[in-house]
Amino acid sequence: MNRVAEFARRHPAIWPILGCLVFFVLIGGLTGSIDPTVVFTAARLATFAALLGLAQMIVVTSGDGAIDLSQVYVLTLCAYASTTLMDINPVLGFIAAVLIGGLAGLLNGLINIYLKVPAMVTTLATGYLYFSVVLVGSSHMKVLPQQDFVTLVTGSVGPVSNQTILVAVVALILAVVLYRTSYGKQLHAVGQNRTAASLAGIPTPRVVITAFVTGGLLSGLAGVVAAAVMGGAFQDMGLAYFLPSVAATFVGGTAASGGRSSVLGVAFGALMMTLMSSFLNTAENTFDLVSGIKQLIMGAFLVLILFVSVAGTKRRRGRVGTVSTLKPSAAS
């Protein structure tokens, strides 16, 4: 019994993977047939929750209560940027649009670290800024995606969507960066204890800002792809992904207080959220459920899984605005 608990603690990804299996079987039970295309469809639909969830995971892992609330606005902003810029030059436009996301992340990180504004408040405020750029600028921007790019992202290799391949590649790169490079080690150290990290000689400000930039780049990428998949950019395109992505982040085993991440867990967390959604949709149609039951179950399930997984870690609660006793050396 202890062994199992220990294994689960070391590999938080097993929770969402189990969850995926459960919902896959449940869907099969409802429809009366086990159909693998359900998984492939769900994986395709999970693209944006997965990308945003991974982005959020990196920011949250930097600790100190860090969270990026501006993500969905960065996604929308980059979607508009991509439709406009890729019209001029597909490749450069693509790169520029993703870089805009990185720039947004950089601004978030700089304000958080050097103005010492708590990350949550910072990204709340900058989110407003990015969104207003969209609101004001959208009338001057192109909204239709570049056609070749649309063909590319909506294509598939066998039953596997190109979007799923994209997510897999991104996840692989992130896994290497987070678990096999010194930056990854430093990020996890900073997330566990910023004071200790600084005293261990880690350039804490740079590590945190890099986390925000990476998060921004991923949100930007999600935006560019979203514009192509959804047939264009629109003002509220990001909103639908806020909840599933945050849920994927925490269900996937990211410690809310920082310092622990799981690329695999978050990726499957996004898949699980999508499968849960499809299951509830199927159930809704099959049993003619009252609308709302779906959200209710989703919410209750989320709180439950938090109750089980987050509380089990018994760690100090991440407090927003904790000031480390050591001044960041780069600040002087």
Binding site: G65, I67, I111, L115, P118, M120, V121, L124, A125, T126, G127, Y128, L129, F131, S132, V133, L135, V136, R180, T181, S182, K185, Q186, H188, Q192, N193, T195, A196, A197, L199, A200, G201, I202, L243, V246, A247, A256, S257, G259, R260, S291, G292, I293, K294, Q295, L296, G299, A300, V303, L306, F307, V310, A311, K314, R317, R319, G321, L326, S329, S332
Partner: protein, 824 residues
């Protein structure tokens, strides 16, 4: 001790001894794991005597006090309370004996007013105080402070955070003195921040209360004051009694000699074979926070000790050296790589989620990186090398760091520093709470590092450890007061230099800022000014705004936001945040428009249940220590789900009575305006005037202080959440009155807007500091911005940008004023 030391009996104490001792501790052992903090310590306390408890750093004084105040129980030994034997001193005995302690680390809620900190302790735990209790408590608090510290000039209505350190110390002492049945007063370094004048006042106070039969235990490193006011000196060393003295028969020098006694660290034969080489650290008249005119030098191949009484600036010096590792700092040159090893392992050392391997390697990642990737084999090799060399008591390098004892964790931290290849090793009290054997291993490691040509700087709170150093700098109040070298490095000399009086540094108590400056810095200025200015701009652009009907129109859209923000405020007061109030307002909107409008009673019950759900959410967050941000995010699905079940499509209607109420007025004042004023007044009353408001604010600031005062933290948090739920209900109610229907999806924006409003309104997201009137003003201001932008025919979309800019602007402005305040 007692009768065995008749020579120490003074006349006063002799009279006291005829009485039964208040408290008797005999043969007390206290160990933490393998560390023995107390072994066979004795303490007898008689009514009316002043005991001076002295001893070198790490002698066990704090542990003894924790036993007396019931914070800990002894491992072994006998405790008698008024002759009755007890296993440990419980809360009951603490109350019965009237034990009060002025803590060194202050136990005040810094966001509460001075008199509230007193009131929270000595008022009964009912929800309401008698009419005018605040006035009475203020007068009481002033009188108390004035009685013991005449002319202190402390304004008891100011929050503790606005006081100087000396003023806080006076408040802390008076808080301890306030105990009605005071029988035993413990003062732990009470004069560390006080000027000589104030210290004298404290001494008279101590004499005065001891005359009334109260016993006092007075802990101080300042031997002159111990001799001045104590009847009896109890000297503690290495966790046991090292003697008991009559202050009139012993000089400070003799005391110091006894304290620095014969205990010796195993002689490491200070081998002179290691070559003392180039200077690696050199400070010349360094001045910075907590440091004055520091001149020190550290060369390669030597161990340099930094000693002195706890808190004399040793840590500040180490951190200054560490901070200067990249480049130069005024007055400080550091050549070479620096590694910092902290003795505060949990706070600034270990990474608790990691294995021993990762904890050792975190500072030397570059050396095991190839082509951008970490080489696991090489990494493991390095870690294994240190693991074998330091003989960790653990399975292998992959064992979690938290499975190690404190001493072994410390070895891992030292290995981290050594593995990084640093030339300079800074150690901040590395042997705190470490057993003897591991201590020896650590000394050996340091000697090896020295032999390898590294520079080792060792600060230790255990004076005996200074004997392994080649040279020692002794610090006092942020200055280096002595440098010992070679044969002069003895505990005796270190202790003597530690207790040396510095030229009386002026400890001028800073004058509190004037009332006018205080008013300008008030948190209310910004939101109120914003509201007035934006309203004026509205009026300039569109003079019709000044008419009553227009004002009604403008304000009626502002009211739901005002309530939403107040709900957010109550949760922020508890130190949390509500990320789900967008949908929870949507739910109450549905409950009102669909249920309450049909059946008042059922609707009312549903709303009460909703408030209960909010309180339960608060309880869940506290009991399972879940992050509020995630729980409230998850909960919003539930709000949304329930709302959709009740009203799958937009619909419902505003109850008639609600609409007619909302559209009425009071003496020509439109109802929305009346509501804003009324809710500002009521929430202001709840937060600042209601007795329980102290608890509501206190829990976001200092959990210990609240729990120590006997109020329930859990209940406090639930009340905060319930009040937030109530505000959400009102927000939903008036949102229905504005929109005339239910649609769960139209209220989503309230979440972000309410957080923005709370920030602009002058609240601190860190908790405890809230400003209801400011929040109401800010809510109106935020709402008026929209209409202003419409009047000037700006794209209404820009409102979002304006909101974002306002948040950043407000925070930047607040940062500037705060910085100015800290400079002044």
């Amino acid at each position: 001790m007692g009768s065995s030391a008749p020579q120490t009996t003074t006349a006063g104490a002799a009279a006291a001894r005829s009485l039964e001792p208040l408290l008797e501790l005999r043969d007390i052992d206290k160990s933490f794991g393998i560390t023995q903090a107390l072994s066979g310590a004795d303490l007898e306390v008689f009514p009316g005597e002043v005991i001076g408890l002295v001893g070198p750093n790490g002698a066990g004084k704090s542990t003894l006090i924790k036993l007396v105040t019931g914070v800990m129980e002894p491992t072994a030994g006998v405790i008698r309370v008024k002759g009755r034997e007890v296993a440990q001193i419980s809360h009951r005995e603490v109350a019965q004996l009237g034990i009060s302690c002025a803590y060194q680390d202050l136990s005040l809620c810094t966001n509460l007013a001075v008199y509230e900190n007193f009131a929270i302790l000595n008022m009964d735990h009912t929800l309401w105080g008698p009419v005018g209790w605040r006035k009475a408590k203020m007068a009481e608090a002033s009188a108390l402070l004035e009685r013991f510290f005449p002319g202190n000039g402390i304004d008891v209505s100011r929050p503790v955070s606005a006081l100087t350190l000396a003023e806080r110390q006076m408040v802390e002492i008076c808080k301890a003195l306030m105990n009605e049945g005071l029988g035993l007063l413990i003062l732990d370094e009470p004069t560390s921040a006080l000027s000589a004048n104030r210290a004298d006042q404290l001494h008279s106070a101590v004499r005065e209360i001891s005359r009334t039969g109260v016993a006092v235990i007075y802990i101080s490193h300042k031997l002159d004051e111990i001799q001045k006011i104590c009847d009896r000196i109890v000297l503690l060393k290495n966790g046991t009694n090292a003697g008991e003295f009559d202050p009139r028969e012993i000089s400070s020098d003799e005391l110091v000699n006894i304290m620095g006694g014969e205990v010796r660290v195993r002689d490491l034969s200070r081998d002179r074979t290691s070559m003392v080489g180039a200077s690696l650290v050199s400070a010349h008249e360094l001045n910075s926070a907590g440091l004055t005119d520091i001149s020190v030098e550290v060369k390669s191949g030597e161990i340099v000790g930094i000693s002195g009484l706890v808190g004399s600036g040793q840590t500040a010096l180490l951190k200054a050296i560490f901070g200067a590792r990249q480049g130069r700092k005024q007055g400080l040159v550091v050549n070479g790589q620096v590694a910092y090893v902290s003795g505060d392992r949990a706070g600034e050392g270990v990474f608790p989620l990691w294995s021993i391997l990762d904890n050792i390697m975190v500072s030397s990642l570059r050396s095991v990186t190839r082509l951008g990737l970490l080489n696991r084999v090489k990494s493991r090799g390095v870690a294994q090398h240190w693991f074998d060399r330091l003989r960790f008591r653990a399975e292998n390098v992959d064992s979690p760091i938290t499975s190690l004892s404190g001493g072994n964790q410390q070895k891992a931290l030292i290995a981290r520093g050594l593995a990084s290849g640093a030339d300079i090793l800074l150690l901040n009290d590395p042997t705190a709470g470490v057993d003897i054997e591991t201590k020896q291993e650590i000394y050996t490691l340091l000697a090896e590092a020295k032999a390898a040509g590294k520079a080792v700087v060792l600060h230790s709170t255990e004076d005996v450890e200074m004997e392994i150093c080649d040279r020692v700098y002794v610090m006092r109040e942020g200055r280096v007061t002595a440098e010992l070298a070679g044969e002069d490095v003895t505990v005796q000399n270190v202790v003597r230099a530690s207790f040396a009086e510095v030229d009386q540094v002026d400890q001028q108590e800073k004058a509190a800022p004037s009332r006018l400056a205080g008013l300008l810095h008030s948190r209310l200025v910004l939101p109120v000014a914003a509201m007035v200015i934006i309203f004026a701009l509205n009026a300039i652009v569109n003079p019709n705004v000044l008419s009553l009907s227009s004002t009604r129109l403008l304000l009626s859209t502002a009211v739901p936001l005002v309530f939403a923000a107040l709900g957010q405020m109550f949760i922020v007061a508890a130190g949390d945040i509500d990320m789900g109030n967008g949908y929870s307002i949507g739910l109450t909107n549905v409950l009102v428009a669909v249920i309450l409008s049909q059946n008042f009673l059922v609707g009312l019950v549903s709303l009460v249940l909703f408030i209960g759900a909010y309180a339960a959410m608060g309880a869940l967050i506290h009991l399972r220590r879940l992050p509020a941000i995630v729980v409230t995010l998850g909960a919003q699905f539930i709000w949304l789900g329930i709302a959709l079940i009740i009203a799958p499509v937009p619909g419902g209607s505003s109850p008639k009575w609600l609409s007619s109420f909302y559209n009425s007025g009071l003496l020509y004042i439109p109802m929305p305006a009346v509501l804003c004023i009324a809710v500002a007044a009521v929430t202001w009353f709840v937060i600042f005037r209601w007795k329980y408001g102290m608890v509501l604010r206190g829990i976001g600031n200092n959990q210990d202080a609240i729990e120590r005062s006997g109020w329930s933290y859990l209940v406090g948090k639930m009340v905060n959440y319930a009040l937030a739920g109530l505000m959400v209900v009102f927000a939903g109610l008036f949102f229905t009155a504005v929109t005339y229907a239910a649609d769960v999806n139209t209220s989503v924006a309230f979440c972000m807007m309410s957080i923005a409003t709370v920030i602009v309104g002058g609240c601190e997201m860190a908790g405890g500091v809230v400003e209801p009137i400011g929040v109401v003003a800010a809510g109106i201001a935020m709402s008026l911005i929209t209409s202003l932008l419409i009047f000037v025919q700006v794209d209404s979309n820009l409102q979002v940008a304006v909101t974002g800019l306002i948040i950043i602007g407000v925070l930047a402005a607040r940062m500037l004023t705060r910085r100015k305040a800290s400079v002044a």
